[in-house]
């Protein structure tokens, strides 16, 4: 899954950041800048490949120990400014698969990132995620999935999933072809972003932009959609209730809704 290193995260970060300076302090795998967008500064964060990462298992853009804690720090830094929006630019192949990572508590580093994003959201900061490539597994939980609004580029190279195709095939002892066939009939197993959108979990699918080499017009359009999503997040509640409200969610996440209704009836 991380056999080829993706450049999309860095490319979109740089395109959206423009002249905004990269915040110093590293690590080199976590880019952060305060980007002017819609008349205010937005804290943009991306995790990118770093061939010199001190953890060998986190050199292809994975979320490792340093990445999880750095995301947490960058989000909390931004959340010190009342109302400042946070933008996660997402192109993450997976969490880091390593023995040292497990020993040193990679789960906690990811929890720190989740905690920071969720806390910022609860404190009234619009948190928006823009998926430009892979958003897989624990890596997406740590970087992007706590956003009030998740946007994705409508592109074949964009994939939001519980586990990368190759890894999922290895773990479930199915072939990649079998997984793809299953995804055609079982919606939550599909790897393409259009199928994902039908689960009602996306705020918006942005079509008509070149995900690999965005033009100036593409970037302007995405910036405009991000600003609109930030404004929309400000109008809504600070929780994730919106993910169960759409027509798609009522159809394809019916059990998620039914469970909550029944819990409410039986709670007391």
């Amino acid at each position: 899954m991380s056999d080829s290193v993706s450049l999309r995260g860095r490319r979109w970060f740089e395109a959206l950041a423009g002249d905004a300076p990269l915040l110093p302090g590293g690590p080199a795998s976590v880019l952060a800048a305060d980007v002017p967008l819609g008349g205010e500064a937005v804290r943009a964060i991306a995790v990118v490949p770093d061939p010199h990462n001190r953890f060998p298992r986190a050199r292809s853009g994975e979320i490792g120990l340093d990445e999880g804690w750095a995301i947490a720090a960058r989000v909390r830094e931004a959340a010190a400014v009342p109302g400042r929006p946070v933008l996660a630019i997402v192109d993450v192949p997976s969490q880091a698969y390593g023995r040292t990572e497990e020993l040193l508590g990679l789960y906690l580093a990811c929890a720190a990132a989740v905690d920071a994003y969720a806390s910022a959201r609860l404190d009234g900061h619009p948190v928006v995620a823009l998926v430009v490539g892979n958003a897989l597994s624990g890596a997406f939980l740590a970087h992007g999935y706590q956003a009030n609004r998740v946007l994705a580029l409508d592109d074949p190279g964009v994939s939001i999933h519980a586990m990368g195709k190759a890894a999922a095939a290895r773990v479930t002892r199915r072939s990649v072809a079998d997984l793809e066939r299953l995804g055609e009939t079982i919606l939550p197993l599909a790897y393409d972003v259009r199928s994902f959108a039908r689960l009602g979990l996306l705020h918006e699918l942005i079509s008509g932009v070149d995900a690999d080499a965005p033009t100036a017009a593409d970037v302007a359009r995405v910036r405009e959609r991000l600003a609109a999503a930030i404004a929309d997040a400000r109008r809504g509640p600070p929780d994730l209730a919106g993910r169960l409200a759409s027509e798609d969610a009522r159809r394809n996440r019916a059990a998620s809704i039914r469970v909550r209704e029944q819990l409410a009836r039986e709670w007391n």
């Binding site: 497990e102 789960y107 906690l108 624990g138 979990l201 996440r253 019916a254």
Partner: protein, 376 residues
Amino acid sequence: MEIIELRFPGDRPIARRAHVGVVGSGDLEVLLSPAGETTVTIRTSVDGFGPTWQATLARFFARHPVAARVEINDAGATPGVVSLRLAQALEGDAGMTSAATLLNRRSFVEMNARERARALLDAGSFRELLGPFEHVESPWLAPQGIVPQSDDGVVVARGAIDGVPAVVLAIEGAFQGGSTGEVSGAKIAGSLERALADAEAGRPIRPVLVFETGGVRLQEANLGLAAMAEIHAALVALRRHVPVVGVIAGLVGCFGGMSITAGLASRLIMTRQGRLGLNGPEVIEQNAGIAELDSRDQALIWSLTGGEVRTVTGLADTLVADDADALAAAVRAAFANGAPGPASSARIDFWRARLARLPEPATGAALASLWSGDRT
């Protein structure tokens, strides 16, 4: 998966519903309900054994001519196990509850999720929500030929802890590895959301999570992951009002996205048998190779992720012996101690300082010595 419908004569009505067993390897789940005649619906993972089911059940219902609606969800149980589970279910009907069994079984690790929830709540206060007879099961498994379980592997139990209203969310590790699917995940997320509503309204609530899981259920992939994000969101919100206590006892441990949930808990209680990590050992071996981690080296796995090293290094709070009373006491103490300080997941400077130096070699022992004496 095969579905078998059978019918047997019988005229002794049963008095109440009964539920025993788990859809785990070599085992089965049995649901009995009062009915005018005996009808049996079997969903089994093993095809082609219709005559064996017919013979086994005919023998059983000849000996016990009850009238009952019988639902069986089977994961390859032998005829002996089938008869045993049916007898257990009827035994409950005769008033001999599983308390008798519990008396000689105080190992918390060996308990199923329902028994664990009961063991952590004040005696007599257990009340299950969305229990087996409500049949809120996964809509995604049967279409893939996988036998579902009537509670989807999560027990939601209301009750009291030291007299204070509580909710225990216990994951059943024997069903699909305790994995988080749409329904099991929604049961946890939805319960935490209800607990949050209580806390926001000033009503006391003590939430406990009993982990036993490999993470997201890959057969429900994206809906499991979505539920996980909602669990995280609800937990972070709830933790602002009341402590949320996590228990990792074993045997499955706590891995995948659910380990992040554990990392968000206010307090974490583990046994020596419990393990906690983001990637399960098999997943690391499959993705990074056996040189990175040999998943069959049990001693190594426990030395990296087991309850002992997790508590010695401060990643978990309390190490408790595998005893139901000891676990219940530790949970009570975790709440009695009141609001904890900042959560581990929010102590960024502390953990980054710790990670500035790495243990050489990367072993639990080296880490314990490197990280000793810097607790604040």
